[in-house]
């Protein structure tokens, strides 16, 4: 059992953009709504995940979505793969129609996928990748994020010099793919960069410490690529009295504010967002699938990227907001339109 594998065209291609030409489509037999949908998150104690959950709840609360939902349940199982597999299987057993997954690891999903197919449950992965080709997933191209950053750096630095790469949490696929993409570009023939690599764990504190050390040991840099905790890296340069240089970083609001304020001090910035709003696309995909529409096995979510020249206050970043959040939060083609501030300021306890 399980979905029928069909070839395009898919449904709402503008929103559900197939990863590439080879990407196949899944088609489940249409079910009458309203549906029971669950979201199984892993680690929860970081802003990105919290914002993601908030977005999911806000999206589920939209009238046009709400009418499709009988129940929407969210659990965060922490960094424990067994618990995450268990939770998904539990919701399958409970007879949920679809389960959205922000996976702790890309591997190990075969069993639950097999069960889901037996019971006709739709699973949709998002954010961190899932290796299996038998489950529909929504993802941003992390390798591409690395490449974009690399190309932008080459554009702004020229094709030689000393670069600082601040990496994310070791062992995660997100970290690895961004790293690969970046290296592919800067190590491409024609470029001669010396790249100094440190680990910042996507956290400002760690990034700042690692950057400060790197500056102390290696002196001046000509360009920076960081995966997160971006403002920490900027801070380290300021503290060390080092001239700011072109830098590609994550989508934290605080970093974008710095990009705006410090550009004439040399911080030419690029900010790519791993958007927490992916979750909304995943839910939209799940509902579509349940309604019998074909959806891509791998939906490519456009990588929201702004740089110091293109970003607009009040839209791409929010100087007046002191809160901590990821600025990129809207996907117009999928008519997902909340701004991050809307999301983060809604009160915590509106569960549907």
């Amino acid at each position: 059992k399980g979905p029928e594998v069909v070839s395009g065209p898919g449904y709402e291609e503008a929103c559900f953009k197939p990863w590439n030409a080879e990407t196949k489509f899944f088609k489940w037999p249409a079910k009458p709504g309203p549906y029971k949908i669950a979201l199984v998150n892993g680690f929860v104690a970081n802003v990105w995940r919290i914002q993601m959950i908030q977005t999911a709840k806000a999206y589920a609360a939209l009238p046009e979505v709400a009418k499709e939902l009988k129940e929407f349940k969210v659990v965060s199982v922490g960094t424990d793969m067994a618990a995450q597999l268990g939770a998904v299987e539990d919701f399958i057993n409970q007879g949920f129609d679809a389960v959205l997954i922000d996976p702790n690891t890309p591997t190990g999903w075969d069993r639950v996928i097999r069960l889901a197919n037996q019971k006709g449950t739709v699973l949709v992965g998002f954010d961190n990748g899932i290796e299996s080709k038998d489950i529909p997933a929504v993802a941003q191209d992390q390798i591409d994020l690395g490449k974009i950053s690399g190309e932008w750096i080459v554009k702004n630095v020229g094709n030689k010099g000393k670069l600082l790469e601040v990496r994310g949490v070791a062992g995660t696929s997100v970290d690895n793919e961004r790293h690969q993409g970046f290296r592919q570009v800067v190590e491409a023939p024609g470029n001669s960069f010396e790249v100094v690599e440190v680990v910042g764990n996507w956290a400002p504190g760690d990034s700042q410490k690692a950057t400060a050390d790197a500056i102390a040991a290696h002196g001046k840099f000509d360009g920076i690529f960081t995966q997160g905790g971006s403002n920490g890296t900027v801070q380290a340069f300021l503290d060390a009295g080092q001239p700011l240089v072109p830098m590609a970083g994550e989508g934290e609001n605080l970093f974008r504010v710095q990009m705006a304020e410090l550009q004439d001090k040399g911080l030419k910035g690029l900010s790519y967002g791993q958007s927490p709003a992916q979750v909304a696309i995943a839910m939209k995909a799940a509902i579509a699938a349940l309604q019998g529409h074909p959806i891509p096995q791998l939906t490519s979510v456009p990588n929201p990227v702004v740089d110091y020249t293109t970003q607009k206050a009040g839209e791409d970043y929010f100087p007046e907001l002191k809160g901590d959040f990821f600025a990129a939060n809207a996907f117009p083609p999928c008519d997902i339109k909340f701004t991050a501030p809307q999301i983060m300021s809604q009160s915590g306890d509106n569960t549907k």
Partner: protein
């Protein structure tokens, strides 16, 4: 009769854990739309087994009066190793599994050797070896991946029925006696086998008792002519073996390897919590893995419950994903504080010191 009373008072910890588990589990399975089914039981035991095995690994050092901060990393190390070794031909698979368990045992033995001959405190030794194990794991599996035999994965994570089915033992129907037991989840069978074949004999052996003796009063044990070094080494090695089993099952269950140090840390801390809830004294000398099994059951049941509470019910707030993490903590605190009830019943204040 008098003895029964004595036995109960002496095992009050595990008994309390069992009761607590039953309460939570009945609550969960009664709210569960499908009720208590074989599927449910299979899923729940899959989810619990790895932590149970790791809790067992933690129990031994704790019985000695120590603690082992390296069980999680060691499990992760074996898990990463298994993702390289446990695949291919039947022979390769078996050999691979044995290799994994040996590595686990050796890891435990290493801890034991440093603790005994280095005469260092277990908590700091394992804090350090834990880092080393994590490092090796990351080295083996820089990113999650690898493969473990899919049939093995399927068999080990389903009801017993799938065992003959997967390997086609009885092409023309399974024998009658099998019908009775085929509903039992594989993880439960694995657990029972391990307890019967490894733990019970150890517990009843002289060395096993020596571990309790050492944990109870090392000096006295030494004076009484107990082979304290052998006991310690045995305990740590067995602990390592259990950690290895945890890592191996984890690999089989997830069909892959993952060196994530953060996950390793989570598992270590949960294993300690499970041991305590299971009624093993952190001072050593009293307790056992049976209690720990219930301890894990309690921990897991807490999270199970969050999946079934209805947001419009009286306890709907438990359904709020942004409140759950806090309530998880509060319930954990509650569970580990149950022992405190005893404190208030103590009529002699001296008995709280130990």
């Amino acid at each position: 009769m008098k003895d029964l009373k004595l036995r109960i008072t002496q095992n009050i910890g595990p008994i309390l854990a069992l009761i607590l588990f039953l309460i939570l589990y009945v609550f969960y399975s009664s709210l569960h739309p499908r009720g208590f089914t074989s599927d449910l039981f299979v899923q729940n035991s899959n989810e619990a087994l790895t932590l149970i095995l790791l809790g067992m690994a933690q129990t031994l050092p704790v019985l000695l009066g120590g603690i082992d901060l390296s069980v999680g990393p060691l499990m992760t190390l074996v898990n990463s190793l298994a993702s390289h070794l446990v695949s291919g031909s039947a022979v390769e698979i078996v050999a691979g599994m044995i290799a994994c368990l040996v590595v686990g045992a050796l890891g435990g033995l290493l801890n034991g050797l440093i603790v005994v001959y280095g005469r260092l405190q277990p908590i700091v030794v394992t804090l350090a070896t834990g880092a080393v194990f994590s490092g090796i794991a990351l080295f083996l599996r820089p990113t999650p991946g690898g493969t473990v035999d899919p049939d093995l994965n399927w068999v080990a994570t389903n009801a017993l029925a799938e065992l003959p089915a997967t390997y086609g033992w009885w092409p023309n129907g399974s024998p009658a006696w099998f019908q009775f037991i085929q509903g039992i989840p594989m993880p439960i069978i694995i657990l029972v086998v391990i307890v019967l074949v490894v733990w019970i004999p150890f517990r009843r052996s002289e060395t096993g008792r020596a571990c309790y003796a050492v944990g109870s009063n090392e000096g006295a044990a030494y004076m009484s002519g107990v082979k304290i070094e052998r006991a310690k080494l045995a305990a740590y090695t067995l602990g390592g073996l259990f950690a290895g089993l945890a890592g191996l099952y984890f690999a089989i269950q997830t069909g892959s390897g993952n060196a994530d140090p953060i996950q390793a840390g989570t598992y270590t801390l949960n294993s300690i919590a499970a041991v305590v809830i299971g009624g093993t004294s952190l001072f050593g000398g009293a307790g056992g893995v049976i209690g720990t099994i219930f301890g894990v059951a309690v921990l897991r049941s807490i999270t199970f419950c969050f999946r079934v509470v209805d947001s419009d019910s009286a306890i709907g707030f438990l359904a709020n994903p942004l409140l759950q993490p806090m309530f998880e903590g509060l319930i954990l605190l509650l569970a580990v504080s149950i022992g405190a009830a005893g404190i208030f019943r103590m009529k002699n204040r001296l008995s709280i010191f130990r």
